[in-house]
């Protein structure tokens, strides 16, 4: 029975995840300061880093990594599906604006 997520008796992994999250945040801030990318490319890079950070939080801090496979897939697939639907609602028009020359 998977009662409370008793998966690992070590606290060390949480400190590693915390450190990784801080480092990824620092990378984001440096990118923001340097402004090396165009706004659209910057949006893509920052979103990618945010997805990595959120995966670490969901997987380790929220313990989803250690739940049953059914629970993991049910939560992940339902939310991702809704976001994909949102993407198709919102972005074609914004993309149209970009492709007609506005940068």
């Amino acid at each position: 029975m998977h009662d409370i997520a008793k998966h690992d008796d070590s606290k060390g992994q949480y400190f590693w995840v915390w450190g990784a999250l801080l480092i990824l945040t620092a990378i984001e801030v440096v990118l923001g300061y340097k402004q090396v990318f165009s706004p659209v490319r910057m949006l893509e890079v920052l979103l990618l880093l945010s997805v990595i950070k959120s995966a670490l939080i969901i997987g380790y801090f929220m313990h989803l990594k250690f739940e049953t496979a059914l629970m993991r897939w049910m939560i992940t697939l339902s939310v991702v599906t809704c976001f994909v639907i949102m993407y198709f609602f919102f972005f074609p028009d914004a993309d149209r604006v970009l492709t007609i020359g506005v940068k």
Binding site: D3, A5, T25, G32, Q35, L49, M62, V102
Partner: protein
């Protein structure tokens, strides 16, 4: 009680058909106790709320040219410290859950209080940032306007690109509300009825000390609402919160942290003006 699912016959391997005995419940579908599944489902639905707001913000960001870039180095430094506070609060929260699973009540409370302290620091820093921006003229209809805001550096941004202020305040207000609810939630779990006078005192002091031309003079009434709801819960259903409750409250707290991981880069880092 829903947690009795843990004692279901099926869990103990009793044969099918032996379900007539008192206290028998259906086996949990997801291998987790019902409170945890309920919180996950709530967070899934809440993520769609924030997802829609973030999509709307990103859409406006791409669609609006030129997009305002009002955040100077000081604002970015402030937001970075706020991010570090939330990330650190997630670490203390997970250590609190760890202590609760070990049955260490003293350290469970200590870690939860540390989490609340980080969360409160986040709210205060965010409130200061809001006050600074409103003072510089970034505002939306309905906000009280302090003296000098109309001629501030960002007043023109509010007039020319109103969707910037609307999306910024809408998104960050929604998140700040969630953080505030999270701090109250952790206060109820860690201190129970002892938390109520603290919450009442913070509301009263805040209301009396914050000037009436500051938006938080009115916003702080969220604490009063929280006090009423927490009082109803604690007096109608007094209980000693266990490791399950701590873990479920931790799920909520980490979600609040998770949402900020998207708001910080999208709202702040995509609108920087670093010279």
């Amino acid at each position: 009680m829903a947690d009795a699912t843990l004692e279901h016959d099926a869990v103990h391997g009793l044969p099918a058909g032996a379900h007539g005995s008192a206290g028998a419940f259906e086996a949990p579908l997801f291998g987790a106790y019902s409170k945890k599944v309920g919180m996950w489902l709530f967070l899934a639905s809440d993520s769609l709320t924030f997802g829609a707001l973030l999509f709307a913000f990103s859409y406006n960001r791409l669609y609006t040219v030129p997009w305002p870039t009002p955040f100077h180095a000081q604002s970015i430094a402030n937001a970075t410290i706020m991010t570090a506070c939330l990330l650190s609060s997630s670490l203390t929260m997970v250590l609190g859950v760890f202590a609760a699973q070990k049955g260490d009540r003293a350290w469970t409370r200590n870690w939860l209080l540390a989490t609340m302290a980080f969360g409160t620091a986040f709210i205060v820093l965010h409130g200061m940032e809001w006050t600074k921006l409103i003072g510089e003229g970034l505002t939306i209809p309905g906000f009280p306007k302090p003296a000098g805001a109309a001629s501030g550096e960002l007043a023109e941004v509010s007039r020319a690109v109103p969707q910037f202020a609307a999306t910024f305040f809408g998104l960050t207000a929604m998140h700040m509300l969630h953080v505030t609810i999270g701090v109250i939630y952790l206060g109820v779990v860690s201190l129970r009825k002892l938390f109520l006078p603290f919450l009442g005192a913070i509301w009263l002091v805040g209301f009396l000390l914050i000037p009436s031309d500051n938006v938080f003079h009115y916003g702080i009434h969220v604490l009063l609402l929280g006090l009423i709801v927490a009082s109803i819960i604690l007096f109608l259903k007094p209980k000693d919160y266990d490791a399950h409750d701590v873990e479920v409250s931790g799920l909520y707290w980490h979600f609040v942290d998770l949402v900020w991981m998207f708001i910080f880069p999208l709202v702040y880092l995509m609108s920087t003006r670093i010279s």
